[in-house]
């Protein structure tokens, strides 16, 4: 993985000193609330319902075991013993004290971590495929490019006061596991006409109040121009994005109002002027970055069937919670943070420490955070999966549900977030209570359920196969249900099935949707495909045919 050099170390340490000074000036009354708000937000610090919330960047989701141990220690020392992993591969702490945040940042800096630009109207953490570098059929490992973007975007002098937040995702495989089509900019590694490596660049995707799928701005960008092209996009956005209305300030609104062709023209015109004078990624830099992500010294092992003859429980876990690896004899192992009685994406300090230990023992000391709010040990020998499973199981980290109904994406909701209209965590709990039969869950197959406590859509409900959106109706928590959304390479936005339902009716609503699927599906057809084939109508009719019990 990437290791800091003197420049990186200097910058994070200077950032800690800067934020310490800003916090002290605020506490001494020398900075107003509003002035401090703009500063703390660019350092991941929100003022939430109960306490400040600190969002720490995990660049493209990659952690060393030492970093994860520090995250565990911070959870214990400064928080209430847990952290929440997010869809953008960050971790959030919900209970730090404002005056202690500079100390937290100092501890993070010691392990080459930070909270720089994890909130605020600036370029956020660059996210990527959690299977980067290990998945078969990858064009190239996207992580060196993520790190190049991370550095370029950190403290970018021109783009730190954008109209609104700006999120970039990079992928290098055909299957899009980073939701890049709903990012402000999606960067896809592709091969050009001559087999040269380059990028397809998309812009204007996003969720929130106005969900939009990103569109192609450039089909092939030679690799050395990546940063100058991003500068051109950002510059057009910085100058022309709306600043009069926060809900219309994302780049997606600019792209939509100009139309993709006019937007493209502006970007290309700006890039023509920038391509020779702007930043250029030279071969030496690419080689230097790639070297950080060289594969570990894998052993030469045959592919095996480590689940053969083992108990059903392990076989189910192996099937659902491990993924194919490009190196024979290895698997990528998901650590499920979707235990039915835990808020989705949460891990305790003890769990984090155990996972760090298991990473050292089984996966070259590295851990990854997935977009779906789980963790991943990417390089596990197949023959070690059984003992790893036992260790994970003992800590409640082996719920065999990856990619199924109960592997829900979920925002913190009304329990923590001051923006939320409704709870999410308690709805996840109700769904888990209703659907606890694994035979049924496995029979349903691949199913993405995504839940947001408000229209800001942190839980990506628009692109859930089943999306659940919390809405406030006269002070009561109600839920709007959508179906047919998808976040991958075939991304689509879900359609609302009808009037919203009460909290206690959500599980029954989902059950009725699933009944239609089970009755109408064709062989091998996923829920998403059935919805696409049949449309919303039969699902809607079933849900509202008989009154939903409260």
């Amino acid at each position: 993985m990437y290791r800091y050099d003197l420049t990186d170390k200097t910058l994070v340490q200077e950032r800690v000193a800067q934020f310490r000074d800003q916090t002290q000036r605020f506490l001494a009354g020398r900075l107003s609330e509003d002035e401090f708000r703009h500063l703390r937000l660019r350092n991941g610090l929100y003022i939430q319902r109960h306490a400040p919330m600190l969002r720490v960047a995990i660049p493209y989701g990659l952690l060393s075991s030492a970093q994860l141990r520090t995250l565990a220690r911070i959870a214990r020392r400064y928080d209430r013993g847990y952290g929440h992993f997010t869809t953008r591969q960050n971790i959030q702490y919900n209970w730090p004290k404002l005056e202690e945040v500079p100390d937290i940042l100092a501890e993070l800096a010691e392990v080459e971590m930070h909270a720089i630009q994890t909130s605020g109207n600036c370029i956020r953490n660059t996210t990527s495929d959690h299977l980067a570098g290990v998945t078969p059929h990858e064009i190239e490992d996207p992580r060196p490019w993520c790190e190049i973007i991370r550095q370029w975007s950190s403290f970018h002098p021109e783009f730190t006061y954008l109209p609104r937040k700006f999120k970039i995702a990079v992928t290098g495989a055909a299957q899009d596991r980073a939701a890049s089509l709903v990012h402000d900019v999606g960067v896809h590694i592709v091969r050009g006409p001559n087999g040269d490596l380059g990028f397809e660049i998309l812009a204007g995707g996003g969720l929130g109040r106005t969900p939009i799928i990103g569109q192609v701005v450039r089909e092939f960008l030679p690799r050395e121009h990546l940063l100058s092209y991003l500068e051109a996009i950002l510059r057009v956005y910085n100058l022309e994005g709306r600043r009069d209305n926060l809900t219309k300030a994302r780049i997606k609104i600019l792209v939509r109002s100009l139309g993709i062709e006019a937007f493209k023209k502006r970007v290309e015109a700006e890039w023509e002027l920038l391509r020779e004078t702007g930043p250029r990624v030279d071969d030496a830099q690419i080689a230097r970055m790639r070297a950080f992500f060289d594969p570990p010294a894998y052993r030469v092992l045959p592919n095996g069937e480590p689940d053969a003859g083992k108990e059903t429980e392990f076989r189910a876990w192996y099937r659902y919670n491990t993924a194919a690896h490009k190196v024979s004899g290895y698997r990528a192992v998901f650590v499920s943070l979707k235990k039915p009685d835990m808020p989705p994406g949460d891990a305790t300090d003890a769990q984090m420490e155990l996972i760090a230990h298991l990473a050292d023992r089984y996966s070259y000391g590295e851990v990854r955070v997935t977009h779906t709010q789980n963790l991943l040990l990417a390089d596990v020998e197949q023959g070690k999966c059984y003992e790893l499973w036992q260790a994970l199981k003992g800590a409640g980290l082996a719920t065999p549900n990856i990619g199924t109904l109960t592997d829900m994406i979920c925002c913190p909701g009304l329990d923590f977030c001051s923006l939320a209209n409704a709870g999410s965590i308690d709805v996840a709990k109700l769904i888990n209570e209703r659907f606890d039969d694994y035979d049924y869950i496995y029979d349903l197959g691949e199913l993405d359920v995504k839940m947001s406590g408000c229209m800001n859509a942190c839980g990506h409900h628009h692109v859930g196969n089943i999306g659940i959106l919390g809405v406030d109706k006269g002070g009561e928590e109600w839920y709007q249900i959508t179906i047919g959304g998808a976040a991958g390479a075939d991304a689509s936005l879900g359609s609302v099935i009808g009037p919203s339902v009460a909290k206690t009716q959500v599980p029954e609503t989902i059950a009725r949707l699933l009944d239609v699927y089970v009755e109408q599906r064709q062989p091998e057809e996923r829920f998403l495909d059935t919805v696409r084939r049949l449309g919303v109508k039969p699902f809607k009719e079933r849900v509202y045919a008989a009154p939903l019990a409260a």
């Binding site: 403290f155 002098p157 006061y161 510059r235 600043r243 702007g278 930043p279």
Partner: protein, 166 residues
């Protein structure tokens, strides 16, 4: 009381006046608005004093480019703490249009923005009077940078490979 500001990292007394501030003598340095300039450039060129112009965030600096030789100062306005267009205006003026005169940040300008503003090419800053004494420290917030830029006197270390192409 005359306005004081930070210019080239020193506290200085501002010799410039905005049109809105006083009926300046024709020989005194005067900052007019972009609209005033557009409406009637000849009137302003008839003055003997140096001329400056203040840009609103929405102004396209390209439209000012043919006239840059007439201006010893360009000010970019920051109406509030969230405003960010001035950073791009500054870089374009310095890097694309090669403006060499005083580039000033006016409006909501605070010490915590100075580092980025300086990196974009601003060299003078209208800060609240109470902030002036401490603000210069902001220029040394960071001693290194990831992006090539036209830093004026910040002398930041750039890592090899991050430089702009020649």
């Amino acid at each position: 009381m005359p306005r004081r500001l930070l210019r080239d990292r020193q506290i200085a007394v501002d010799e410039w006046r905005y049109v809105s501030e006083a009926a300046a003598d024709a020989a005194e340095p005067l900052i007019i608005t972009f609209d005033q300039w557009q409406a009637d450039p000849d009137t302003w060129l008839a003055r003997t004093g140096r001329l400056g112009v203040v840009l609103a965030p929405a102004h396209n600096v390209e439209r000012l480019a043919p006239d840059l030789a007439h201006f010893a100062l360009i000010a970019a306005e920051f109406p509030g703490p969230a405003e960010g267009r001035g950073y791009t205006q500054a870089r374009l003026l310095r890097e694309r249009w090669n403006f060499k005169g005083e580039l000033r940040a006016t409006g909501h300008v605070r010490r915590d923005q100075l580092f980025f503003m300086a990196r974009c090419g601003f060299n003078s800053f209208e800060l609240p009077e109470a902030d002036l004494e401490d603000a210069a420290a902001a220029f040394s917030t960071f001693s290194a940078a990831y992006q090539p830029s036209n830093d004026l006197g910040l002398a930041l270390k750039l890592r090899p490979g991050t430089a702009a192409s020649a």
